[in-house]
């Protein structure tokens, strides 16, 4: 039965296109490897770099194994506190992914809900939601996130800062991303709303709620998926940017962006690997998600004719 399901998935156009695109396959595999490593960081990483017992300042500034002075113990070298680079990166990726996924899911739920309801119900409600969306869309997400972050900081007392940081960050990035979802879902809802099967449902007498979420929603998921994927990459980049700027996750649970910030100080003094590897890791992560999103967009776009 599973094999039947698998053949069904791959037999249709989308599956075929996926298999044919080597890039899509590779990037998916890469992404899932990273995902897997970060979920099971405790098992995968060679050390737990946040356990003070594991760290010794004596190991600090060890270069990667292929450079003179490197050892196999610390494959990619160590940072200024003696933590193993590979391990910090895996744990860092976990933070980046958590913030990324959480904020995108938040943005998606909020944005899709507002988009579908405003598109279907129309009236003053729609106009207001659209105005807010338009205005917010002109504000770049970084700025939005910074603003929300800054305001939240003002409200939360200093002692709670560190604990709440991650939630504030997720909220901030989520708020900056929801308009994208709202705009796309509203446009798609407007198209579906005019289709006759919706009129048929209204004639039967189904309630607005049922029509919106049982009939319209399943039909507009495709573009939402594309935006979610690309949005995930953007969220991860935004988070790392904010962490780099020092207003992201607290230094006690560093993400890839924080690591890059730490390492930046040592770039000129020759310990390039402390910045370099987290940077590459971040780029690979973002790239794989973007490639997947790109492929999805090309495949799921009915307007562009296939060759």
């Amino acid at each position: 039965m599973i094999s039947k399901a698998i053949t069904k998935v791959f037999d249709n156009d989308i599956g075929y296109s996926f298999l044919k695109s080597k890039i899509a396959i590779i990037s998916t595999i890469v992404f899932f490897i990273i995902l897997f490593c970060s979920i099971f960081a405790e098992l995968v990483a060679p050390y737990n770099p946040f356990d003070p017992m594991n760290i010794s300042l004596m190991d600090a500034f060890t270069p990667p194994v292929w450079v003179e002075g490197g050892t196999l113990n610390f494959f990619l070298g160590t940072d200024q506190q003696g933590r193993d680079m590979l391990s910090t990166m895996i744990y860092g990726a976990r933070i980046s992914l958590i913030v990324g996924f959480a904020s995108i899911i938040f943005a998606m739920i909020l944005g899709v809900f507002l988009g579908v309801t405003s598109g279907y119900l129309g009236g003053r409600y729609e106009i207001i939601v659209m105005r807010i969306t338009d205005v917010q869309l002109t504000i770049p997400s970084i700025l939005m996130a910074l603003l929300v972050d800054g305001i939240a900081r003002g409200f939360i007392s200093k002692s709670l800062h560190n604990e709440m940081s991650i939630y504030v960050l997720i909220l901030a990035i989520g708020i900056s991303e929801w308009p994208q979802f709202a705009r796309v879902t509203r446009a798609a809802t407007l198209v579906e709303k005019n289709k006759e099967y919706i009129s048929a449902s209204r004639i039967i007498g189904l309630s607005n709620l049922v029509i919106m979420f049982k009939h319209i929603l399943p039909n507009i998921l495709r573009p939402v998926l594309v935006i979610a994927t690309i949005g995930l990459a953007l969220a991860i980049i935004t988070e790392s940017t904010l962490s780099f700027l020092g207003v992201g996750v607290p230094p006690t649970t560093p993400s890839l962006g924080t690591l890059i910030r730490f390492g930046n100080n040592f770039l000129f003094s020759g310990e390039w690997w402390i910045t370099f590897f987290p940077a590459i890791f971040l780029v690979v992560l973002a790239l794989s998600i973007n490639l997947l999103g790109d492929w999805m967009r090309d495949t799921l776009n009915p307007k562009l004719k296939t060759r």
């Binding site: 075929y16 129309g122 009236g123 003053r124 106009i127 207001i128 289709k195 006759e196 099967y197 009129s199 048929a200 449902s201 209204r202 004639i203 039967i204 007498g205 189904l206 009939h215 399943p218 039909n219 004719k305 060759r307």
Partner: protein, 565 residues
């Protein structure tokens, strides 16, 4: 030697799954001064052949064999030659005037550019020629209108501009791909007349591609009938229409609704080639028992009283400008009696769809009331009772491709209204109901587990009918139910509707712009123009002795195939 000679043309589309033969061994000739029609149902390959002549087939299609000779010059697949010929020797007219013109350029610019591409004229001369062209195609005040943008022209006017563009460089061959399909019947008539005049005046060779037999009858001298990429028959129009030889052609001609009389059922061709009026309705006794077919009372069922509907645009600041408002219906009144088939005829913009939406409560009237069996449908106080009556009015729609939810299986589509109206009904009863319904509309039980995209247009309409019947409605509104279907499928679906009406004692409100179809389907007809009723009479009286001028005009413009047979 003819002006256009097509011999053994083979076109294929290479998709990943298979190779589709869009045209096989197509051969025909065309001379100056004659109008050749290529008719066929959707998928017959007629458009592909037309596109092949100017080498603009959509990828991944390719001409893989045969020859196309224009004025004795071989030009198939030869982009170099065709680049010079396009526009200069061949003019092409597309179907949709809305999207054929670039919205950002004035008409003048588009005309002058085309003229200067092929003819050696300076700007002033090109401009003058453009104005003359617009006058020739019947656009009034061309000096002024030439400076306007496409969206400032109506549909029919835009198509005239398109024709002007096509003939601007004095071509010898005109190919028109479904030139009047998107237009109203009166505009259609004018455009076809224009094409006929141009053919004579300029001694053009004209090729019209269409699926509409009426257009063929009115306009063409010779016709080619295509099916599945092959030519099934060709010859003089009068001969083909009065004496078709092949089965396909016979079935096509038989399905066209006659304009001069009312028939009981459309004749269909059975597989052996003989005629049959056999219906696809298999009502078993159990269905009739379950349905509890009502006795006909012939009482007044629907009373549409003095309805006016005005649409206005929305904004946060309500502006009180009259311009923004659209008066869709103006004091419209009519009555429908139980058991009858009431027809509503009008062109686009006449308000017929609005009437359907008001009866089904999709839209509220601005003024007036609608009574269903003495119950006012739009009175807010009646909400609870109103809901009970909802199931008694149902509708089937025009576009088979958007009337079914693509994510639902067929059985769920049909079951949904049943579940809604009979809350607490058990699974088994639902299943039986759905099975009965799919039997009634003549489709197999296996269809129930499939998705809409696996079915053709005609089959989807049948599923729509099954869904509409699920609530045992008393009034069935059919809003242009067959306008998007091929003519032979239309015949089958219309037969089905007639059968259903007979056996289940349905009352039908049949909305259409197609007069011959309405004649076949209805007892009484109302004619609608610009939101106002022109006349309401019995069908035969309307067609034989119309009273209103507009009705007379519509009847005049109606393409009458019988006249040329």
């Amino acid at each position: 030697m003819s002006f256009l000679e097509v011999k053994n043309l083979d076109i294929e589309y290479l998709t990943r799954k298979e190779t589709i033969k869009a045209s096989q061994n197509v051969s025909f000739n065309l001379d100056r001064g004659e109008i050749l029609g290529i008719v066929g149902e959707s998928g017959s390959g007629k458009s592909t052949v037309a596109n092949a002549i100017i080498n603009l087939i959509d990828k991944p299609g390719k001409i893989i064999g045969g020859s196309i000779k224009l004025d004795d010059i071989e030009c198939s697949n030869n982009e170099k030659i065709l680049q010079n010929i396009r526009g200069k020797k061949i003019g092409f007219i597309f179907q949709d005037p809305q999207t054929s013109l670039n919205p950002l350029f004035k008409i003048k610019d588009q005309l002058v550019e085309t003229i200067q591409t092929h003819l050696k004229l300076n700007y002033k001369e090109a401009e003058k020629k453009s104005i003359d062209l617009l006058r020739e195609v019947g656009i009034e005040n061309p000096e002024k209108r030439i400076n306007e943008y496409p969206h400032q022209f109506s549909g029919g006017m835009r198509q005239r501009v398109v024709i002007a563009l096509a003939i601007s460089c004095e071509p010898d061959l005109i190919i028109a791909d479904e030139p009047t399909t998107s237009l109203d019947v009166s505009i259609q008539h004018q455009i076809l007349k224009l094409l006929k005049n141009l053919t004579v005046k300029r001694n053009l060779a004209v090729m019209i591609i269409t699926h509409d037999m009426g257009v063929i009858a009115e306009t063409t001298n010779r016709v080619i009938v295509m099916r599945y990429g092959k030519i099934v028959e060709q010859g003089k129009t009068t001969e083909i229409l009065s004496n078709p030889q092949s089965n396909e052609c016979k079935s096509l001609v038989m399905s066209v609704p006659p304009t001069n009389k009312k028939i009981n059922r459309f004749k269909l061709l059975n597989p052996e080639g003989g005629e049959t009026s056999d219906t696809s309705l298999n009502l078993t006794n159990s269905i009739i028992k379950n349905w509890a077919v009502r006795e006909l009372s012939h009482e007044k069922l629907l009373d549409f009283k003095n309805i006016t509907k005005i649409f206005d645009e929305q904004s946060i600041i309500r502006s009180i400008k009259e311009n923004n408002k659209l008066k869709a219906l103006d004091n419209v009144s009519f009555e429908i009696f139980e058991g009858e088939s009431f027809g509503l005829v009008g062109e686009s913009g006449s308000g017929k769809s609005t009437i359907a939406k008001i009866i089904t409560s999709l839209v509220k009237p601005t003024n007036g009331q609608v009574f269903f069996e003495d119950l006012s449908l739009h009175d807010p106080k009646n909400k609870i009772i109103k809901n009970k009556y909802r199931g008694q009015i149902q509708m089937i729609f025009q576009d088979p491709y958007s009337s079914l939810n693509p994510r639902f299986k067929v059985k769920d589509i049909i079951a949904e209204p049943i579940k809604f109206f009979q809350k607490g009904i058990n699974q088994n009863s639902i299943k039986n109901n759905v099975n009965d319904l799919i039997d009634i509309v003549g489709m197999t039980r296996e269809s129930l587990d499939r998705y809409p995209h696996e079915f053709s247009g005609g089959q989807r309409q049948r599923i729509s009918i099954a869904r509409a019947l699920a609530t045992r409605p008393r009034l069935l509104i059919c809003d242009e139910p067959t306008s998007a279907l091929d003519v032979s499928i239309q015949a089958q679906v219309l037969n089905l509707l007639k059968d259903l009406q007979d056996q289940l004692n349905l009352t039908i409100l049949f909305i259409s712009h197609d007069l011959p179809v309405v004649r076949q389907m209805c007892n009484r007809i109302a004619v609608l123009k610009n939101g106002q009723i022109c006349e309401i009479t019995e069908t035969e009286k309307l067609f034989n002795t119309p009273t209103h001028d507009y009705t007379k005009e519509l009847l005049n413009l109606m393409p009458k195939i019988e006249s040329i047979i």
